[in-house]
């Protein structure tokens, strides 16, 4: 796992592989960790956490976490909580679609412009929460 300090917020997507929602969750995460808040936010492998990897479990227990789930099954949120992590905000991609009626976001393999717009909107919401949690401004 990448080294990060205690103030870092962990952004953990579900990365569901079956539908576009999982890809949006993943790309929104990278927009936060690589572009909007690279100093304040990092991501972590969800599967590694679910596997019970000691380092991954310790990380979610010692950092604030934001989860981004593609579907209502909320695998990311549930598994972070099961591991003893504190989820300060749980975002659902399906909710973002409610304000994008008729959008054609792409597929589980690639996003269209609509898909990227939704991913960026989610990322900005998450980055705002990261700023709130860390007290440090993020890029906009």
């Amino acid at each position: 796992m990448t080294a990060f300090d205690e103030h870092t917020v962990l952004v953990i997507p579900c990365s569901g592989i079956g539908k576009v929602h999982g890809l949006i969750s993943r790309e929104a995460t990278y927009l936060v960790t690589d572009e909007l808040a690279p100093e304040q936010a990092k991501t972590q492998c969800l599967a590694l956490l679910v596997k019970g990897d000691a380092e991954a479990v310790a990380a979610v227990q010692s950092h604030r976490c934001i989860t981004i789930d593609g579907c209502p099954k909320a695998c990311a949120c549930k598994n972070v909580e099961l591991a003893g992590g504190m989820v300060v905000k749980a975002v659902r991609v399906v909710d973002a679609f409610k304000t994008h009626r008729g959008a054609q976001p792409g597929s589980a393999s690639g996003l269209t412009n609509d898909g990227w717009a939704i991913a960026r909107e989610i990322a900005e919401t998450v980055a705002t929460e990261v700023a709130n949690q860390t007290g440090r401004e993020v890029a906009s």
């Binding site: 796992m1 990365s15 690639g110």
Partner: protein, 229 residues
């Protein structure tokens, strides 16, 4: 194992932290959508690990291939923990023979190295699917899935259409085939005509007496594709 033809489950690690996780995921999608759409399904690893019984039951009763980004092999571990031994366990770094230092996590940054890595891993997965099916099927049975097991994740990509001798023909994954050809520099003119046909023939059966008509139709569709790039 039943004596009906099986579908093979492919479980990719999510691997959010590393480029190899993205390669694993995209290669799995490519097999599902283009290389072996009728013979494969995928399972959502976090959902599988979280205890979804339908997904675990599928992995118990069907051959399963895991594709992991790194040596921690979360997908393999999780599958064997909950559903029993896997038919094959692939690791991206083993397939590529080296760390993916030139690859990226986000598709926004995707470059040639990412595309080549995805193709290499996808082709290896497809080869493993063929081997698993060959081992699990009665001799002589065609490798088409017919047992009805499926999930929403496995729907093949809509095909592209071309017009051959006045008839509309759908070719599965045609846009992806064209994308690959464009990446490889296949020209959209008479020089690229045969190369295009050869690639399409891998995925779509073309009667020999219709090859000439297909050659022209595919070229016309490819030219249109390149114009829209």
């Amino acid at each position: 194992m039943s004596d009906t033809v099986q579908k093979v489950g492919i479980i990719s690690c999510s691997g959010e932290e590393i480029p190899e996780g993205t390669i694993s995921r995209l290669a799995t999608r490519r097999v599902l959508e283009l290389l072996r759409p009728d013979a494969t399904v995928t399972l959502c690893l976090p959902l599988f690990l979280a205890g979804n019984e339908a997904e675990r039951d599928f992995a118990r009763t069907h051959p399963t291939i895991t594709v992991d980004g790194c040596a921690k092999q979360c997908a393999k571990w999780g599958t064997e923990q909950h559903s029993g031994p896997v038919s094959a366990a692939l690791v991206v770094t083993d397939i590529l023979g080296e760390p993916c230092t030139a690859c990226h996590r986000s598709s926004r940054d995707r470059g040639q190295a990412d595309k080549e890595a995805v193709w290499a891993v996808a082709e290896r997965i497809a080869a493993e699917v063929d081997m698993v099916l060959a081992q699990s099927m009665p001799a002589g049975m065609a490798a088409t899935a017919t047992d009805g097991a499926s999930c929403a994740c496995s729907s093949p990509l809509p095909g592209g259409t071309i017009t051959v001798n006045g008839a509309t023909v759908t070719i599965a994954g045609l846009p992806l085939i064209f994308e690959q050809c464009a990446e490889q520099g296949v020209p959209a003119d008479a020089y690229g005509r045969q190369a295009l046909l050869d690639v399409v023939k891998i995925y779509h059966s073309i009667p020999s007496d219709e090859e000439s008509a297909y050659r022209e139709a595919i070229l016309a569709a490819y030219q249109q594709f390149r114009r829209e790039l």
